[in-house]
């Protein structure tokens, strides 16, 4: 019997101005984090529609993380404030439906915080891995 280590699939939405740059900085400094994290670049965290997050879960993601500029530092002044409200409400709703709250996260990572980006991803991957596969928001039709 072959035992393969469970590898979670993590989708990370990163805003172009802070967090995506923070991820680049993590790379520049060779700060490693699991390859399970796949980054999608968006102009601002406020571009992330709840539908994108649900879709990621539908297609098999085990965790979704949103990264944006720190509140007050948004490139577009106010974008991440809206993100914060939208995601607070969405995550609370997912929790209410019994979806594990550890599968979603919002983290503010600035362009200077390469180390924080790597640490956040390490932590989040470990957190999701501990939960195991996403069963509650999966779509069997999308299973491999």
């Amino acid at each position: 019997m072959q035992v393969t280590e469970y590898k979670p699939l993590i989708v990370a939405f990163c805003c172009n101005w802070c967090s995506y740059a923070g991820a680049d900085l993590a790379g520049n400094n060779r700060l490693s984090y699991p390859a399970d994290v796949k980054i999608i670049r968006v102009p601002c965290s406020c571009r992330v529609n709840p539908m994108f997050i649900l879709r990621a879960f539908q297609r098999g993601a085990d965790g979704v993380i949103l990264c944006g500029c720190h509140p007050g530092d948004c490139h577009y002044t106010t974008g991440n404030y809206y993100t914060r409200r939208r995601m607070a409400l969405l995550f609370s709703m997912l929790d209410y439906l019994g979806i594990e709250r550890e599968r979603t996260r919002v983290e503010w990572v600035s362009a200077a915080e390469g180390a924080k980006f790597a640490a956040t991803m390490n932590d989040f991957v470990a957190q999701v891995a501990a939960l195991g596969e996403n069963k509650r928001l999966e779509d069997l039709r999308c299973k491999k």
């Binding site: 989708v11 991820a23 980054i39 809206y82 491999k144």
Partner: protein, 664 residues
């Protein structure tokens, strides 16, 4: 389906060291739409770029994916490459397989697998890309400066010197602002008028500068490069182009009891007046609240004495409309009202004054011709108490004061104290302070001189109460270092009142859709990197309207704002960012939700007639995005329930395709 080419970069060993680039190129070859896939040592090199150009031509590529370093590094490079090969630059997508892959993963198999997935996501996105063309809008080569204080004057002069016409709009009858009221300036003690009035004259005579004094901005429409501004020119009842500024009328006017605002009401002027001798424009103005002719039709003295025939009692407010490419806000500040700080007895004694009033009392052109005399009895004060931080640094929910530090008070109080001791060595001068804040070139040295050379008594502690008893002001205060409560019988108390933005700023911000903080200071586009720009494109900030500032700081910010304006006006056209929001009118509900989240005021609504499926027509309210104003954040796209609002370059479908590719 596009015809897509994939180019995998080795970046020397930076990528190829942890990612099997050949395997990536091979795997992506099988993705939908991919007709060509290759790898190369350095894609960004000339040879690499030539290779891309050739492949575009040879394989009739409609879109390309570069698997390389971060798009923040070379997206612009590869877009130019594509454009050179005749491909729309927005048909290029980058898969970041260096910073976000090869550099953070050590295992070749793991790195390769992830690189392939990132490549697939980029391919999936390019499949849905559409060619984008940035919008172009012309630039009106004229700037508007709102506010004619030192900030506005400096900005206007710098822009004018660069060859662009500038208009200054000032609500008062003259430019000059607060600086014109000051006596000396710290830390060099040169006289404010000596350095300001030449600049005022320059502004008044500059061929590129028009001054609309006694005027207000009443409406602003349009956007960066294309503002339409309405300016109200208040009736001054004197023909500006006829008046010679001789001042005869201001001597003959029988109405002598008008509080002189320039001297903060400490003396009187006439109903027709020129604020001060160096006013620009040097033209008289009739104060309609006091002029007997305007109020009751009985007088007309000024008209009789005016040999130039400049008086016009029938004048009306006029509105002019003008186009501008850029707007600079320089509305400045005012000291806050001392009404709510009556423990200092400001409204109970004439001898409790604000620092600005003190400036006038020591100014040679002021009500006392520069002699420091008590307002109550005209006697020379022998004991003067200065109180710092009156209304500054209060708690956030304070009903009385401001939460911020007003920044300039420590220095001007040191100046006042020093000048007093210099001119009147027989005077005892006390300064009560919480902290003395002197970060500035030669600032702390200046303050130390006040203490060490001029013998000003600096006492750490606040004043609790000022009681007017007889001819004295009984000052009860803390001396925290000595652990004493002090009781000083003073002749004059000077309050360093907090400063606040001018009241005209709030309505102006609304007109400009420029954002403000809770204190009504204008917010900058970025607190560190874009300090003189407002988040609204084409609107710039100069001076204390953005936050408390001293003169050197104001002037440097004024110059910086001018540089930004010049940079904008130099362009004939503005090339927009094509990755902007766009509303699908057929799907738009016209509900105004997107408008509320737009930080730039880029969204407006229009009533449009639509042909309905049943051949009737219907008038519907739909959103319209001004592409020159939109910055492309995407806040509106999520606020929009129906999905009518989408963001070009980051469309819902594109992002979902990336999600799908990653999760597959």
């Amino acid at each position: 389906m596009q015809r897509i080419g994939v180019f995998v970069c080795h970046c020397g060993t930076n990528i190829a060291g942890t990612v099997d680039v050949k395997a990536v190129a091979a795997a992506l070859k099988n993705e939908p739409g991919v007709v060509f896939s290759t790898d190369y040592q350095y894609m960004c090199s000339q040879a690499g770029q030539d290779m891309i150009k050739e492949a575009i031509a040879e394989h009739h590529l409609g879109g390309i994916v570069i698997c390389s370093c971060s798009p923040r590094m070379h997206e612009a490079t590869f877009r130019k490459t594509a454009a050179a090969a005749g491909l729309n630059p927005y048909m290029v997508e980058i898969a970041n397989i260096r910073e976000q892959c090869s550099w953070v993963h050590k295992d070749m198999a793991v790195g390769t697998e992830k690189a392939i997935i990132l490549g697939k996501a980029a391919v999936a996105k390019v499949n849905l890309n559409t060619p984008l063309t940035p919008g172009q809008s012309p630039v009106t080569k004229r700037a508007l400066v709102i506010g004619g204080g030192i900030a506005g004057i400096q900005t206007a002069l710098d822009i004018a010197e660069a060859g662009f016409p500038v208009d200054i709009v000032e609500t008062k009858p003259t430019i000059g602002g607060k600086m014109a009221q000051l006596d000396k300036t710290f830390p060099t003690l040169d006289c404010a008028a000596c350095i300001l009035t030449p600049k005022m004259v320059d502004a008044g005579q500059h061929e590129n500068i028009r001054i609309f004094s006694y005027s207000e901005v009443t409406a602003v429409k349009g956007f960066v490069g294309n503002f339409d501004v309405t300016i109200k020119r208040k009736a001054r009842y004197v023909k500006e182009d006829v008046c010679t500024g001789c001042g005869l009328c201001t001597e003959k006017c029988p109405q002598k009891k008008v509080p002189n605002e320039f001297n903060l009401g400490m003396d009187n002027r006439r109903a027709i007046y020129i604020p001060f001798a160096q006013a620009v424009p040097k033209v008289a103005t009739i104060d309609p609240d006091y002029c007997m002719m305007l109020k009751s039709g009985k007088c007309g003295v000024c008209s009789k004495v005016c040999t130039a025939g400049a008086i016009d009692y029938k004048a009306k407010d006029e509105y002019i409309e003008e186009k501008y490419g850029a707007i600079v806000v320089a509305t400045g500040f005012n000291p806050i009202s001392m009404e709510k700080f009556d423990e200092y007895a400001y409204s109970q004694s004439k001898d409790v004054i604000t620092s600005l009033e003190f400036e006038r009392l020591t100014n040679a052109a002021g009500p006392t011709q520069g002699k420091l005399l008590r307002p109550s009895d005209g006697e020379h004060p022998h004991t003067i108490v200065f109180v710092q931080c009156v209304g500054s640094r209060c708690e956030a929910c304070s009903e009385k004061g401001k939460e911020y530090c007003s920044k300039i008070c420590c220095m001007y109080t040191a100046k006042h104290a020093m000048l007093t001791r210099d001119k009147y060595p027989d005077t005892d001068v006390y300064v009560f302070y919480i902290d003395v804040r002197t970060p500035g070139k030669n600032f702390d040295e200046f303050y130390r001189r006040a203490v060490e050379e001029y013998g000003v008594h600096y006492i750490k502690g606040m004043v609790g109460k000022v009681s007017p008893e007889g001819k004295k002001l009984h000052v009860q205060a803390s001396d925290l270092l000595a652990g004493k409560q002090l009781h000083i019988d003073a002749d004059l108390v000077v309050l360093a009142a907090a400063i606040e933005p001018d009241r005209s700023a709030r309505p102006l911000a609304t007109m400009l859709t420029a954002s403000m903080d809770t204190n009504d200071f204008f917010t900058e586009a970025h607190p560190k990197l874009r300090p003189v720009e407002s988040p609204t494109a084409g609107v710039f900030l100069s001076g204390a309207c953005q936050g408390p500032k001293d003169i050197p700081e104001t002037v440097s910010q004024a110059g910086a704002a001018a540089a930004k304006v010049i940079g904008l006006l130099c362009k004939d056209h503005l090339t927009g960012n094509p990755c902007v929001a766009h509303a699908d009118e057929m799907m738009c509900n016209g509900c105004s939700t997107c408008e509320r989240v737009c930080p730039y005021g880029a969204i407006t609504y229009v009533e449009k007639e639509f042909r309905m499926p049943d051949r009737t027509t219907k008038l519907r309210r739909v959103a319209s995005v001004n592409e020159a104003v939109c910055q492309g954040c995407g806040a509106c796209t999520v606020a929009c329930m129906s999905g009518a609002m989408d963001l070009r370059g980051f469309m819902n479908r594109q992002i979902q395709a990336e999600v799908d590719a990653i999760c597959k």
